[in-house]
Symmetry: C2
Subunit: 249 residues, 2 copies
């Protein structure tokens, strides 16, 4: 972990601004909002961004890299709650419940923008737009959680895997649209299992089945989905709706 406080990149030029908290803000408010960001923090792959039970002093926006948010379970396993990619907001807690109910770990090397929560809160009164930006992000997070719940509750393993892979492919691709060789896919089959409540062994069998059907190519930390409509059909979901949910806040 390494903190940078000098020569931070400008939010106006930020490649992920449209996807991030400030995508909701009009340009004229950006200066005020940017002033809230005091530093960037760089985490190495495998490092924790925070632990369950922590009371965070900073909110984090992922600038680049992949982060896994998860809960440790009593039986020693873990439940992955979501994968945080560039633009995602983490660890903004305020009010009576100030402790985080999950942990976050860097999958790849990760760069995050840090915003002191106190500064956020002090600014709400003079910049109500910031409220709407935050609310929009947290509301979207809830919507995505409910969609995930829907996929996990009643679908077959194949449909769940299809839903997750398609979701990650769409999100990562919206960040790097130009690349025709597929997107980075830094998580293991065990991670996928921990996210969907399935064993890594069964994930492996489903991956092979999806590969055989020509729906995905996935090797060397790289993922390609040739026909998103077909994969969406396997996932029992509407592709257009899914894209609306996943792209921008």
């Amino acid at each position: 972990m390494k903190t940078i406080k000098q020569n931070l990149p400008k939010c106006q030029n930020c490649a992920v601004r449209e996807m991030a908290l400030f995508g909701e803000l009009e340009t004229q408010h950006l200066d005020k909002a940017r002033a809230l960001r005091t530093s960037q923090i760089i985490y190495s792959a495998g490092e924790y961004l925070y632990h369950e039970g922590d009371t965070p002093s900073n909110a984090l926006t992922i600038y680049q890299g992949w982060v896994i948010l998860f809960k440790n379970l009593v039986d020693g396993s873990r439940q992955i709650l979501r994968f945080a990619l560039a633009g995602d907001l983490l660890s903004y807690k305020t009010g009576k419940k100030s402790r985080l109910d999950h942990s976050a770990i860097a999958v790849t090397d990760v760069t995050a923008c840090a915003f002191p929560i106190q500064g956020f809160n002090d600014t709400i009164a003079e910049l109500p737009e910031l409220f709407f930006a935050i609310h929009s992000v947290t509301d979207t997070t809830t919507s995505r959680c409910y969609s995930t719940l829907t996929s996990i509750a009643k679908q077959t393993a194949e449909a769940k895997v299809a839903y997750l892979l398609l979701s990650l492919f769409i999100r990562e691709r919206s960040l790097n649209p130009e690349n025709d060789k597929g997107v980075i896919f830094p998580i293991t089959q065990e991670d996928v299992g921990d996210a969907l409540g399935l064993t890594a062994i069964h994930i492996n069998r489903v991956f092979q089945s999806l590969r055989k059907k020509g729906l995905i190519e996935c090797r060397n930390k790289n993922l390609w989905v040739g026909d998103q409509y077909k994969l969406a059909e396997i996932a029992n979901t509407d592709l257009a709706e899914l894209k609306k949910l996943l792209i921008a806040v």
Copy 2:
């Protein structure tokens, strides 16, 4: 559905205020906040509060009754996202994504307090406390969703049922602590199945098993849990943590 605009009960005296949006507000702000509430709406059992795709003009706080929030799935079944009880906030949407992604239906007769969303939004600037109140509620909703996800993803049917029944028992009981005969439990076994992604038939078998073990009594729309610790153990969850998550916002 019936709307009341005269002689509304005072928020100060509201029995569910501690559990609701304004539980976060200091008493001196209550007058301003209460002025935002323009009406109460009464729904009959079976009536929809809103449909997926609607753009709501009012946010709703449940004053009494049970509401089911759910998504319709492509295969004709439905996924229940959560059960809304007295104090819960529904249908507050603002910003670019103004459409609701789920429907809400009254299980019992329901009374809800209605707050025009526009009024909410106009008030944020002069009453930043309202922001923190709203954020706290939506953040808690997300936390509960992630806990539900965790229960549904990896637990056996018995653990899932135990978790849901215990959660509803704790919430309903915190609203009516005095009653020793059990709490109202107006949902069907099929509803439980739709919430957990299990068939009603299997829910029935699990209910019988839990009854045989003396962990629950559930009949005539009434639920009693004698030993919450034991049921929490079956649910693979920590009772103290669960209560913190479910009681108040």
